[in-house]
Every structure is written in structure tokens, then in C-alpha cells.
Amino acid sequence: MYSEDFTADEMVVVCMAREIKDHDVLAQGIATPLVTNAYLLAKKTHAPNCTPMFHMGNTYVLETHPVSLLYFEKYVNTWAIRFQHSGEVTMEHLPSGRVNIEYFRPAQIDMYGNFNNTCIGEWHSPKVRLPGAAGIPEVSITYKKILLYVPRHDRRCFVPKIDFVSGVGFLDGKTTREEMGFPGKGPYHIITDLAVLGFDDKTKRMKVISLHPGVTREEIQGKTGFELIIPKDVPTTEPPTKEQIRVIREEIDPLGIRLLEFLPAEERDELFDRIIEIETSR
């Protein structure tokens, strides 16, 4: 039974959850409530044996718990089956492939899936200094597959040329990545509010795998700063089921914390105040 009243953020969460298989081990990065939503949705529905690792404690957690702005650290610490030191995560579990799923949200991405989380403009005198790439320069090379997501698909993110290569995609396309002999195979899927994207087998150029319901070829091309490969018979993304939407709204994220990642900065203030008020008064 497909849902008929889902929103764009929920479509993104459901598409991200679909990439997760039962028994996967999942790493979560900093400031990513959409990822938390997706992992918890997968665990509560089709992948009950997956094991999320949350960045707040570097903890593996099997219990599920609603997403929280103020108390998520308490949850990941209280219910941890294991704490890990950052060194153990960085040197062992990520490069070894034990952790096999992680989502990254690029500030900029090019047609070959190279991406930037470091700065907008020139590095020495940036227009915007972003937080930084954390583990991306390493794991974009070592992860078997890279998963990316972009909450707002637009020309600010999908650019002809990125300002800083923080994460390695398919370099200059074709076999250029393969020739480097990296252990990882490169970017696999990009989930956005408009589509699921992937890469052409031969050229390694970005291509549309499916368009979300109601999104046209013209719209997605118009919001992308380079030419996308859009197959003639491009399918429509399978909508969320009624059950998936119910689980997101009632069990995982009733406060809508995922929207903090989805809304533009200027619209977040009110939501922040509301979430903090509700959580503090509990």
C-alpha cells in the first residue's frame, strides 16, 4: 500500500533506507538526522539485523529509539553494545570494510562524483569556510561503495567544477579511478529530493536512475550545473509505503528533527525553538 501524502524529506529517507540490506553495518556522520532516520527506518522494517554505529559515541547500538536533538547522546551511550575509540574506527573498522554503509552529504559534487566538504572558493582565501572533510579523504578511497545524499538538489551543489576535492569519485571519468588501484569502487548512488542518481558504467558520468513522483526531466536538468544522462525510459521512483511513512512519523522522528537538515538555514530557527522547547519540557 503506497502512501499518498508523503513529503520530500520522507521520500529521501525512504530511498536512503532502501540502500541498506539486512546485516549491513552502518556508520553515521556528523549532523545527519536524515541518515539517522534512514538507518532506524531500515532497522525497524526490512533490515532488522543491521547494526548502526552512531558518531556521537562511536557506539554500535541495537536498540532503536526516536531521533532526539538534545538526548541522542544519552541514547547512544546508554544503549551501546560497544564503545570504540576514534582511532579504532578510523584505522580499523572503516578501512577494513567491516562498516559497509555510510552516507555523505556533499556541499558540491561534479559529474564524476568527486565531492567537496571543505570550502567554497579558493582554499587559501575561501568565500565560505565549511566545517571540513573529517574522514572523507580516506574513506572515499577505501569504502567498497560510497553513498551520497543531497537534501536540496540545486546548482549550488551540482556544479561543473568543485572548489576542493575532499572526496574522490571517478576522478576524470572512464577508467581514471580504476587505474589508481584504490580498494574502493567509488560512488554508487546519490539520493536527492528529486531523484536517485548513479553513474554510467563506461563513462562514469552521473545519470538518473529514477525520478521521484512528479519530477520532470526538465526540472532535474535545470537544477543541475552539468549535463545529466537521463535515459529515455527513466522510471519513476517507487513511492514510500503507508507503513514506512507511519514508522517515520510516529516512531522514529515525531518531532521532525530531520527537517533541520532539509530546510534552508533561514527557515530553521522556528523549528529549533519548537524542538528544544518540547524536549526540555519532557
Partner: protein, 288 residues
């Protein structure tokens, strides 16, 4: 055994101008805020910062001109936003940034402990980190013939770490996530611990994981209840989201940040005065 429990100003007196300062905790969690505020009060200059996932202490030390360079792989406030003073300094060219990644920091500290000139990684090649870090070198592995990147050692002169409890000798115990703090303590020339509680050694022995940082690595211990405020300290309190939001709002300008410093650092001469300024009702709301 030496008693290392000292006053806040005595402890921070160990930090010298120009030191590379390691900062414990991560992001919005268990940051040594009481120690950081005292560094600002004392006007220590030209610090380098080493922080794995950096946040409030780094942003305040940069904004108050105590730090002029930073080694980090992430500086920000998670969902709450970008780091305002860090951003301003980086965009105005007023800060030396040594662009790190998780692995350059983790293996840099390990190389210090192993006393080797480098440790290798398969990552980072083909990223622009290689362009802005001339001290990272690509080389061919003498055993396998593979291309690797050599990462140099990182040695902090002194580190500040906030913990849940410590005894007077400096045996320091961390509840919950440890992140990189044990490695930081091991690799640092000196270590200052601030602790929510000062306890008898027996109490540390009774905890399942005991002392994460043993006394012989520690040079000074300071008692600082709520010493991570406005960041969190599990299992005692979560972060003060309203305070952090306010900080980010006012710190969007140099003037606003100066006012924040006046209210919460310069006009509160001691940690106790800081807690009074924050207020008991605010502190009671963040208790876990």
C-alpha cells in the same frame, strides 16, 4: 603519589604562549570549557590547536586571539551551524589552517607514540588535501610497490581534557564515549584534567573500565562541576542548546562575540562566578 589537584589558574599556568594545545572531547560533547575560558582570561597567545572534531573551545580561542593556527578535520556546531569565529578568521586569512583528516590526526598521534617518522595510509591520494599539505608525501611501498601517503607525527605540547571523575593523583575516568582522548593524553607533553567530581582512587577502581588516563600521564587536576558547559558531559548533563544557539547568533559579529566574552569569561573571574552567571535554573534543565 603526588597530589596534583590545583587551582584553575595554577593548572592553566602550565600552558605557554605558542604551545600546540590538544583539546579533548568531540564536537558538542565533553569539551574542556572551564579550562578554555581560563586560557582566554589569562590571554595566552599564539596557541596552535589540535582538535579531532573541533567546536566551541576552538571557536572561542580563535575569536579571542589566543590561537593563531589550527589542526583539525572538522570545525563546526553540527546541526546548529558553522563555527562563526573560525569562519571569519579563515575567510579573512587571519588563521593558519593545517588541513587534517581523521586519519592524519589518528596516525599522526600514533606515529608520535611509536617514535617513527611517518605512518602510511592508502587514502587521501588524489584529494586536494595533498595540495595544501606539502608535508604529506606520496611514496612507493618498498614491500608491495603500492603508492601510499606518508603521514608525519603530531605531538601536542599540552592537552586539556574534561572527564567525569578523577582522583587527586590524576587517575581520570571517562563515562561513555572516549573518542581520541586516551591517544591525545598519551602523545602530549603535558596533560591538564578537569573533572566533574574528585573521588577517592577506590571509586575509580570500582568502575568497570577504570582509569582511561592513568595518573603518570597527568600534570594537573582541576575540580570543575559543569566544567563542560555549555557542551555536554555524559552521564550528568546534555548540552545547553539554547546557550549554544545564542552563542552562534551573537558571534556573527566581532562586537557580539566581545560582549559574549565579557559576560561569560572576563566578568566571571572564577568558574563559580561563571556558573552563577549561567544560573541554577538553566543548569537544572540540562541535567540528564
Amino acid at each position: 603519589m603526588a597530589d596534583k589537584l590545583v587551582s584553575l589558574s595554577e593548572a592553566v599556568g602550565l600552558i605557554k604562549n605558542g604551545d600546540l594545545l590538544g583539546i579533548g572531547g568531540m564536537s558538542l560533547y565533553r569539551r574542556p570549557m572551564t579550562l578554555s575560558r581560563e586560557i582566554i582570561r589569562r590571554g595566552i597567545k599564539d596557541l596552535g590547536i589540535l582538535s579531532f572534531i573541533a567546536g566551541l573551545p576552538s571557536d572561542m580561542l580563535i575569536g579571542s586571539h589566543c590561537a593563531s593556527r589550527i589542526r583539525s578535520c572538522y570545525v563546526g556546531f553540527e546541526m546548529f551551524g558553522l563555527a562563526p569565529n573560525y569562519r571569519r578568521a579563515a575567510e579573512n586569512g587571519a588563521l593558519e589552517i593545517i588541513e587534517e583528516t581523521e586519519v592524519t590526526i589518528v596516525l599522526g598521534l600514533k606515529a608520535t607514540l611509536l617514535q617513527v617518522p611517518h605512518l602510511p595510509t592508502r587514502g587521501i591520494r588524489c584529494t586536494d588535501v595533498m595540495k595544501v599539505r606539502k608535508d604529506l608525501k606520496e611514496y612507493t611501498c618498498p614491500l608491495s610497490g603500492e603508492k601510499l601517503v606518508a603521514l608525519p607525527p603530531i605531538k601536542p605540547d599540552i592537552s586539556i581534557i574534561h572527564v567525569s571523575m578523577a582522583d587527586r593523583m590524576g587517575n581520570a575516568h571517562i563515562d561513555g564515549a572516549v573518542w581520541l582522548d586516551e591517544d591525545l593524553a598519551k602523545a602530549s607533553g603535558k596533560v591538564i584534567i578537569s573533572a566533574e567530581k574528585i573521588v577517592e582512587t577506590e571509586e575509580i577502581i570500582r568502575t568497570p573500565s577504570r582509569a582511561n588516563i592513568p595518573h603518570f600521564m597527568v600534570d594537573a587536576v582541576v575540580r570543575a562541576p559543569f566544567g563542560a558547559h555549555p557542551t555536554s558531559c555524559f552521564p550528568f548533563y546534555t548540552y545547553d542548546a539554547k546557550h549554544i544557539r545564542k552563542y552562534l547568533e551573537v558571534s556573527n559579529s566581532d562586537n557580539g562575540f566581545s560582549e559574549y566574552l565579557n559576560t561569560y569569561v572576563y566578568q566571571t573571574k572564577t568558574h563559580e562566578e561563571y556558573l552563577d552567571q549561567v544560573g541554577a535554573s538553566t543548569l537544572s534543565k540540562i541535567l540528564l
